[in-house]
Amino acid sequence: MTESNGILIKMEGVKKVFYTDEVETHALSEIHLEILKGQYISIAGPSGCGKSTLLSILGLLDSPTDGNYWLNGQPVSKLTISERTRIRNREIGFIFQAFNLIGDLTVYENVELPLTYRGTGAAERKQKVQHALERVGMAHRLRHYPSQLSGGQQQRVAVARALVGDPLILMADEPTGNLDSKNGEAVMELLRDLHRNGATICMVTHDERYAHFAERNIHLFDGRIVDETREVGASA
C-alpha cells in the first residue's frame, strides 16, 4: 500500500460494535472503502445507518472494532491516542453540522487553533489564517466572535479552520444541516471550489440535493455500504 497508487484512504472489513449493558449494536459491518486523492465523496443514508460513525472512524475520532484502515498508506486502526491526535491535527480537517466554533475565541483565533496545536510559529500562523479566511471570503471578520456571525458565515469560518493546516482530507459532517437553503448552497459551492482546487473531501449528508455535489455517492444502510453511484460532471 503506497501513496503512489493515489489511494488516500483504504478500509478493509471495518466493523464497529457498540456495547451498552448487555446489548451489542453493530453500527458498521464489513466496510470496504477506497478514497483516492482529490476525490469528493459523499456518504448518505437514513438516520442511524452509521454515517457519522463511519466519518468518526475516517476522521480518527474513533477506532474500528475490527478491520483495517490505512490513511495515506499508513495503517491507523491500532494507533495510540496521541498518534491519532497528531494525525488528526496535521492531515484531517473537520467541518461539523453545528459549526463547533468556540464562542469565546474570535474568528481569527478559531481558525488559528489547529496551527497552535501543531506548534506553528506566529508569523506563519498569521499568514496561513489570513489565507484560509480569504479562501472562504471571511477575511474581513477576523476580530468578530462567532455569535456576531450568521450561520452561513460561521460555517465558512469552520471551513477555513478545516483548511488552514493544509490537510490531506476534509471531513464534513452534514455541513449544511444547520443552514437555510441559500446559505447551504453557498457552503456547498465553497466545498466544490475547494475540490476543484485539489482538495479531497469526504462528506456525510442525508440531503440528496447536496449529495450530488460529490463525484462518488456511497449509500449506507444498517451499517453496510449498499450502493455506490458516481456523478458524471459532479463538482465540475
Binding site: 475520532l61 491526535t85 491535527n89 473537520f94 453545528a98 464562542g103 496545536y117 501543531r118 462567532p146 479552520r161
Partner: protein, 832 residues
Amino acid sequence: MQTFWQDVRYGLRMLGKNPAFTAIAILTLALGIGANTAIFSLVDQMLLRRLPVKHPDQLVVLRSPGLKEGHVWSDGDDAQSFSYPIYKGLRENTSVVSGMLARFAFNASISSHGQTERGLGELVSGNYFDVLGVRPAFGRLLTPEDDRVQGGHPLAVLSYAYWQQHFGGDPGVLNQALLVNNTELTIVGVAQKGFDGIQLGQIADVFVPIMMKGQMTPNRNGLDDWNDAWVAILARRKPGVSSAQLEAGLTVTYRPLLEQQLATNKSWDQKKRQEFLAKKVLVVPGAVGRPTLQNDSGPALMALFALVALVLLIACTNVANLLLAQGASRQREFAIRSALGASRGRMVRQLLIESLLCALGGGALGLVFGLWLMNLLTPEVASAGVSGLSSRLDGTIWAFAAGATLLCGILFGGIPAWRVTRTSVTQTLKEQGSTGSVAMSHVRFRKFLVAGQVAFTLLLLAGSCLFTKTLWNLRKTDLGLNTSNVITFSISPALSGYDNARSIALIDSMRERLAALPGVRAVGTSELATLTGRNAGVNITAEGGPQTPDNADVLVDFISPAYFSTLGVPLIDGRDFTAADSASGNKVVIINETMARHYFPNRNPLGLHLAFGGGKVTPDRQIVGVIKDNRQDHVRSEMSSYVFLPYAQNKTITGMSFYVRTQQDPLLIADEMRGAVRNLDPNMPVYDLKTFDRVVDEDLLAERLIAAMSAGFGLLAGLLAALGIYGVLSYLVIQRTREIGIRIALGAATREVRALIVKEVGFMVIAGAAVGLPAAYAFARLSESLLFGVHANNIGIYLLALTVITVIAAVACLVPVRRATRVDPIIALRYE
C-alpha cells in the same frame, strides 16, 4: 402572603430535590456561622459586654499617665492607679461628675461554714453602689455612712452568685458573721443578680467598705498615704458634659492635689517637679468597666474575629458558587416563568427565599457547632484566670447567630439570584435548544468568586502561619529555667491572720516538710508567682551606678534559698541565699545579668551595694550573687533588671508561691503536698496548684488559642477553597465539554487539554494571590503586636501560604482535569 408561603413550599421542595447541594450548603454555612458564633461569644463577653448597671455609657475610668512617686499598685496600666487621698480630693472638689467611686480588688481568704476558701473581694467606697446604680437583691448595700472610720465598718455585701453558691440563697444570711482575711465582717446584704464587680475577669465574691483596707490587706493600709497609688476610680459624667470638658474639669481639681502630694517629696529637682505637676486626668469609656482584660486580650480576640469572619465570607462565597451552578441549570425554568409573566423581583424573591431557607438550616446547625466550640473554648480561657465566662447561648449570641444567618442568606443568595434572573427569555430558550457557543458569563463570575475565596484563604493561611510561628518561637524561647517535673502552688498566710514572723516560720516549716516528701529533689519559693505576669517595681540606688530616672527602676522579688536551683536557673557568680540570710542577717541581694550589665558595666558587682529608693540613701544591701537571665513574669517579656532578696528579710509578706522539683511526674505528689500544708495549718487555703508546664501553657494562652484557632480556620478555609475550586472547575469542564471536544477533534493533545484547565486554576490562584497577599501583609502589620520572633515582612510566610493554596488548587483540579482529558469528542460533538 399566600405567594410567600407558596415560595417557601417551593423552596423547600427545591432544596429537597437536590439533597447533595442542600447538605453541602448547610454544612458549609454551619461551619462558618458556628465558628463565628463561638468567637463572637468570647468577643461579646470579653470586649463588648456592658456592666449591668444604670446608664453604663455615662461611666468613665480615670487615668493619669506620667511620673509616679512612691508605691504603685497596678494590674496592667499604672496610670489607672491613684492614692486614696487623691481620690478623696477629686471626689469632694469636682463638679463635672455626678458621682465618683473608688475600688480595689483583693485576694480574700473567706471562711464560712467552717471552711476556708480563697476568693476575691472588692474594697469599695461608700458611694460605690449608688454611683453605679446597683440595687440590693436582698438586705442593703454599702452607703457613704459605711465610709467614715478607718477599720470601723466590718461589713460585707455578698455577690448574688456567692450567696447562691455558698449559702444556697438563704435569707437568714443577713447579720451572720463572715471571716474575711481573718477579720470578722457582718453580712448586711446581697448585690443585685448579675452584678459581680466592675472588672471583667475579676468576679467579686464579697464587697467590703474601703475603710477596712488595713484589715483586708494587713501589710499595707494606704488610706492616708499620698504616695501609695492603689485605688481605681470610676466616675459618672453629668449629662451634656463632653470628655474634653470632663478631663479639663478634673485636671483643674487634680493640680492642687498633686501639689499636696509633692510637698511630701523633698528629693526631686525642679524639672521633675514641673513634670509631675503637669500631669492631667484623662478619661476612657467605662461602660464595660475597668478595661484591663479588654486591653490585654482585645487585639488577639479581634484578630481571631477577623479571621473567623473571613471563614464565613469564604463559606458564603462557596455557597454562592454552588447556587450559581444550580441557577445556571435552572435558567430555562426562570425563562419560562418570565415568559409566563413573572417579574424579575418575584423571581429574585423566590431564589432569595430558597437561599434563606438554606441559611436557616446552616444557622441552626451552626448554633449546635458554635455551642460545641464555645464549650471547648470557654474552659480554656477561664483556666487562664478569666473568670465569669459562660458558654450559654444568651440573647446576644442568638441575635448574632440570627443576624449572621440572615446576612449569609442575603449575601450568598442575593447575587446569584440577581444574576440568574438577568438573562433574556428568548436568548435562554433559544440557547437551551441550540448548540451555539455557550454563554460563559456565569462561569466568569464564578471564577471571580473563587479568586476572592483564594484571596481570603491566603490571608487566613498567612495569618495562621504567622501565629503558629509565633507560638513555635515562644515554645522554643530559652526561658532560662527548666519547667519540667516542677509543681507549684501558692498560699497567703497574711490573709489567714499570720503576722510577718509567723508567716516566715510557716514558710520555713513548709519548705522542710515538702523537701522531706519522697521523690522531691528540691524546693524553692518566691513571693510573686513566676511566669504569671506578676511583678513589682522599685527605685534603686546602686553603688557607683547610673542615677538617671530612666534606669533607676528594677523589678524585685523575695525568694528562698534553692529557688534558682529548683527552677534550674544557673548561678553564674557568687552564691545562693542560705539559711543564714535571715531577718537578723546581713542585708543581701542577688541580681541578674541584665542588671549587672546595666548598673555595673565593666565592673564585678559581687560585693557592691545597692539601696531601695532614690535621693540621699546609702546603698546598704550587698550583692552576693549573679544569676543568668531568665523569664520571670511572662514567657514573651523582655529581659529586665531583677533584684532578688531573701524572703526572710521581707517585712510585709502577704503570700508565697512554692516550687517543688520531683524525680517523677510531679502531680503524683500533689495530695501529699496538700497534706503537708494541712498538717501545719488545716485552715490554710492552697491555691493555684498546678505543674509548672501548665503555668507556661496558661501564660501562652492567647498565643495558643490564636494559633490553634487560626490553624483550624486556615484548614477549614483551605477545605472550602478546595471545594470551591473543584466545584467551579467541574462546572467549567461540563460547560466546556463541547469546546474541549472540538479542540480534541482539531488535534489538541492531552497536555493541551490539561493546560486549558490548569490555566483556569492558575488564573484563579494568581488573581486571588494578587489581592490576598497584600491583604495578608496588611493584616500581619496590624497584628504585629501579637507576633513574636516573626515579622510582617517575613517573605517565607507568604511563600508558604502561597504554596499551600497552590497545592490545594492542584489537588482540587485533579478530578476536573482528568474529566477534561477524557472527553470523548464524538459524544461531545454529537448534534442533537
